[in-house]
Symmetry: C2
Subunit: 339 residues, 2 copies
């Protein structure tokens, strides 16, 4: 096999924002497969806010990506060569692997992922791999949302947030989405069914939340941190639940970041603040994906996929997440979908 | 009745620390009792960190004390006159009332509190009114502590903290107390049975906690906030629980106070941070007090009462809480114990 593969490597730890020295693309020959190995041709790769966390020197929730390692990411692809008994040429496989266009694996990183009837590959991968299970577990298990609850979602137009609002509506909640700019806010209300929206770039978030939820908020689903989290903590109902799914506004900080200034409301409103990571729920993926796929097939979950073409454009695409430049679920198309 | 009573009134909202204009003592005639009223002669009054919160302009967990109101506090006293059928002269009564030496009530604020066999009045009042139930509920219900857990307690020599460590030991936990200064730390270890202590005034708290709990901390019981909370969040075990009982270091702030800088560990360690207020557990007081009184009678709960004499010294005493100048449970002796 004389094929070559391109891989993004972690080159230099960023001091703040990811820059051109953070990750570098290198081309390498694909090694000969050994017994038990197979070769994946990557089709789609997921970009997630937590990618930046993996590059930090923090004590994070899993092994970090180390300088000199290939960059880590969720990938779906097609098996194009195999010396593994359970993976055959033409099979689809997905896993937490690397930013690469060809990947050799032995079944450690990749699992077979059969096509889901009625769903396009991009939709199934984009929604069912990370964003959908995260939204569902975060809202219902961590947030304990129930019918009649008022639910606030930050980064409501992001990959997870766009789903949280709809899952909350499916369960009978009232939803308020917080997003930046008229376009995103309009989309949340007209297409995604959010009951109310707050444009944090153009409105006083605390004042608007007080108007929209005069009796307070039961569940706050946080993806951002910083000022919107403070606003959310300010308007919580007594005994409310605050789900910390992401703190994207803090991931590029070059120094210590203060926690929410309204932290005292943990006592004043007797709040429960709970963080979670979807990787802890892997054993529930079949159940979660079945439920999500069902809603998708029934047309009850709407979404935008923001697909950037070409592995070489992955770093530029990733930066969009931290500027809010993405429109829905951000992913990279690395290769053609199987014919 | 020509008797007069002294009352502390909320005179001026403090900008930071409580000062001499915050509360003022006034003498007034005791009004004639109406049908259904009784007169309490105050014996002890509890001073609690949250007293400062009641004087703030924050949206707190109950009605604030308003400027012009009598200062609020837990009081125990003796009924000295009664036109209420259920309260008789000589009865003991306790309640959330005011900083006063004589108090007219109709059974709204005060409840009868019979003497507890084997316990002195000061001990029963000091431990069973606020500090004990707070420690027990916070550790076991909110913190969900279980045998084998490593439990960290801040302000471990304070009214609540001194009890949390012992209740944790009763339930088979390993305990690490954080307190300021060698005297307090020595007392925690030699008298109160804390397994380990950290002197935050003279030691690097994060480093010490890492040494003392290399596998991490299961339950963190927070009374202080600020740097010790940050240290605690830094060394939590995955899925640990952080109980927010008090944030005394922030109550005198004159401006916004940043939340914990290690807030990201809510995600990284998948923590649950939960605040509580003991007033929400009033219906469980009989059960809680029975359990606590039993441990006291058996000599399994040790404590210090820091009793300041004289209602006129209440404000000076209260200030001790915020400087860490108190030694255990702080209370004011307003009048003689019933003979």
């Amino acid at each position: 096999m004389s094929k070559s593969a391109r891989h993004w490597y972690f080159n230099q730890r960023p001091k703040g924002d990811i820059d051109d020295q953070t990750l570098v693309l290198r081309e390498e020959p694909v090694p000969e497969l050994k017994d038990g190995e197979f070769l994946v041709r990557s089709v789609y790769m997921s970009l997630d806010a937590t990618n930046r966390v993996w590059l930090s020197d923090w004590d994070i929730y899993m092994d970090p990506v180390r300088i000199g390692d290939r960059m880590r990411g969720f990938v779906i692809g097609e098996i194009v060569q195999s010396r593994h008994p359970d993976f055959r040429e033409g099979d689809l496989a997905a896993g937490l692997s690397s930013w690469s266009d060809y990947i050799v694996d032995n079944g450690t990183a990749f699992q077979k992922m059969p096509p889901i009837p009625g769903l396009k590959l991009a939709d199934a991968f984009g929604i069912l791999t990370v964003a959908g299970p995260t939204a569902l577990v975060g809202l219902m298990d961590v947030g304990q949302a129930k019918a009649g609850d008022t639910v606030v979602v930050t980064a409501a137009a992001g990959a997870v947030g766009m789903l949280v609002g709809q899952i909350a509506k499916i369960h009978g909640c009232r939803t308020i989405g917080i997003a930046g700019g008229a376009e995103k806010c309009g989309w949340l209300k007209s297409d995604l069914g959010y009951d109310e929206v707050v444009d944090y770039k153009n409105e006083n978030v605390v004042e608007r939340l007080r108007q929209l939820a005069p009796d307070g908020v039961d569940v706050h689903f946080e993806n951002v941190g910083g000022e919107v989290l403070d606003a959310g903590l300010t308007v919580m109902k007594d005994f409310g639940r605050v789900v910390i799914c992401g703190l994207i506004s803090t991931y590029n900080a070059s120094g210590p970041v203060p926690g929410p200034y309204m932290f005292r409301n943990v006592i004043m409103r007797r709040l429960t603040i709970q963080g979670f990571v979807i990787l802890d729920y892997m054993e529930r993926y079949p159940e979660l994906q079945l439920k999500l796929a069902g809603w998708m097939q029934e047309g009850r979950l709407k979404y935008r996929l923001h697909v950037v073409d070409g592995l070489e454009n992955a770093v530029g695409a990733l930066k969009l997440l931290y500027s809010g430049g993405n429109q829905g679920k951000l992913m990279v198309k690395i290769g053609a979908e199987p014919g």
